[in-house]
Amino acid sequence: MSSTSETLLQVRNLTVRFPTIDGVVQAVSDVSFTLQRGETLGIVGESGSGKSVSNLAIMGLLNRKRALITGEILFNGRELLSLPPSEMQKIRGKDIAMIFQDPFACLHPMYRVGDQIAEAATAHGIGKHDADARAVELLDRVGIPNAKSRARDYPHQFSGGMRQRAMIAMALVHNPAILIADEPTTALDVTVQAQILELIDDVKQEFDIGVILVTHDLGVVAETADSVLVMYAGRIQEYGEADSVFKAPQHPYAWGLLDSMPTVERRLAQLVPIEGSPPSLIAPPPGCAFHPRCPHRFAPCDQEVPPLVAPEGAHADSCFLPLDRKLAIGSERAARRLGLAS
């Protein structure tokens, strides 16, 4: 296998716009990040924050007639956005694979699970006989007991957790370099969620791949990700190593998320919600998209869009507050959340 710091994916200034009758939806704006081999990148955000659209853009799954995409997506140095569809088809599902939130909707109800995995194998040139063997091998690898006979089952005979395992098996068919997991555990029960997260981590190590894990659950990210990207209203608000982000989050939106999330550790005297609701992406507020809900807003916030910058000695965020203030508030909030300070 290869060295640890090999850049697999480089996204630069990715912007996605959907023109609609009501106006242009600014789904993703100016998103840049990188993914290394062996890294798990957690993308956190609420519904409508652009996290899924970003990944669909990477997978080349957005209809280019409906979506205006600018920026660059470099996979192993190759620009994906300018590839013709036939070339993209060779990469999608082979080098970059994806699993989705709802394993119930992703498997065809009338085909055997093993056949569906084998189909994914034949799609990129593995022979039928080898494909069947590969399907069984992978089902076994992802922890389906009696893989050989279970491969002949239909999806309804699988539980939710097993279906997600089958989806992971399907994604691994061609030893991809990148696995994109879009809310892979949201539809699952908590004990099954733990199993699936563990499996994704195992698979990452064993296949030496990069993982993009999209979720709305900060706990999932804290536990599994090496680096974290916090999105709000289509923009990156904060981006850095997981340890650093959770130790001292720098963006008021991240503070808001931490304060408002219920925790299993303690009963909090008061949950502090983020007031208001996320903005419309057709007419986002001027300046920082978070400013109408931000208790720390000041002069420039409603005028200019704060750029994503990584100051010396800190990770990247896009907020105009002075760094020492951000670090002070952030570490205090993180400590309070963990119950280390009152």
Partner: protein, 371 residues
């Protein structure tokens, strides 16, 4: 089993069981039953929030629907506000319906898209033919749940998920009920909105002296809102008691597994957390395992005991009961410690003494219920 304590309970259910028959074939012969709820007893005190936690299919929603008599129990009894409502006819139930309301999970499908907010929130007044100016009361209610009275003539599609859930809350409050059953009320909402609704429910409870039965699969949410909790697995209560007590030291291995599975940020200097990953899936409720239903997945399973002898709920800490032969001694524990079950708590059940070390020692007689 139910603690008929000084503060007289609003709801008391005893040995409640609900089986849904499974029918197959043209002659629709009974082919077994889904044992959705099996011998559940609990009480809900006035003014408290009872949380019911469990994974999908554990019977938590069925239990709530049985309490509201939206389903008829197979056996067992339900008392509401001192009155036995187990076999009350729908007609006689009607006046009681205003005392018990429900808030649903999905704020998108639980509001009629063709009715205005005013009609939706005012519907309980119309149905129960209450006297007085319902329009003014609806406006008050909207204001109380954090909406503006001007929203009266708008339609549900004009609102966000959080606002819709507020409409659902206003509707449930309309008739000043004693009991509100909240079935996963925040699961469909974004995190920043969840907290708004949880805070709203907390403050309404204080203002109107409401009693909540709060159902959720999310242990973090339950911890923030419940005073007492019931942990359910395969239709049975495996642990019941004060919320803080259970979260701080779970006794049942299943509760411990649930708690340890919640992904979270680790405290830098805190105790090392072991995750108890349960193998396999929840068994089918049509043919649940014998004796302790959790035994096939339990890290503390002891052959010849757990699969022979059904554990009953017994008090292991003040205000905390668990149904387990080998409850956890403390928390957190490492997996090895958990697997090494000692008979520490079995002094009160002499026929079980030593069983931990001697699998051949199966109890000759069933244990006295309740201990």
């Amino acid at each position: 089993m139910t603690s008929t304590a000084a503060n007289d309970p609003l709801v008391e259910i005893d040995n409640l069981t609900k089986h849904f028959p499974v029918k197959q074939g043209v002659f629709a012969r009974g082919k077994g039953a889904v044992r959705a709820v099996e011998d559940v007893s609990l009480s809900v005190r006035r003014g408290e929030t009872l949380g019911i936690v469990g994974e999908s299919g554990c019977g938590k929603s069925t239990t709530a629907r049985l309490i509201l008599r939206l389903l008829d129990p197979t056996s067992g009894s339900i008392r509401f506000d001192g009155q036995d409502i187990t076999s009350l006819s729908q007609r006689h139930l009607r006046p009681l319906r205003r005392e018990m309301q429900m808030i649903f999970q999905d704020p998108y499908s639980s509001l009629n898209p063709r009715k205005t907010v005013g009609q939706i929130v005012g519907a309980p007044f119309a149905i129960h033919k209450t006297a007085g100016d319902s329009k003014a009361r609806v406006r008050d209610l909207l204001e109380r749940v954090g909406l503006s009275p001007e929203h009266y003539n708008r339609y549900p599609h004009e609102f966000s998920g959080g606002q819709r859930q507020r409409i659902g809350v206003a509707r449930a409050l309309a008739l000043q009920p004693k009991l509100i059953v909240c079935d996963e009320p925040v699961s469909a909402l974004d995190v920043s909105i969840q907290a708004q609704i949880l805070n709203l429910l907390r403050s309404l409870q204080a203002d109107f002296n409401l009693t909540f039965v709060f159902i959720s699969h999310d242990l973090s949410v339950i911890r923030q809102i419940a005073d007492r909790i019931a942990v359910m697995y395969l239709g049975r209560i495996v642990e019941l008691g004060d919320s803080e007590s259970i979260y701080e030291h779970p006794k049942h291995p299943y509760t411990a597994a649930l708690l340890s599975a919640v992904p979270r940020q680790s405290t830098p200097d805190g105790p090392v957390r072991t995750r108890i990953v349960l193998g396999g899936d929840v068994p089918s409720p049509v043919a649940p395992p014998a004796a302790c239903v959790f035994h096939p997945r339990c890290p503390r399973f002891h052959e010849g005991l757990c699969d022979v002898d059904t554990p009953v709920l017994r008090e292991l800490e003040p205000h905390q009961q668990a149904a387990c032969h080998f409850p956890l001694e403390r928390w957190p524990m490492t997996l090895e410690e958990i697997q090494q079950a000692e008979g520490a708590y079995r002094a009160d059940q002499p026929h079980l003494a030593g069983a931990a070390h001697d699998p051949s020692l199966a109890p000759a007689s069933p244990p006295e219920p309740g201990s």
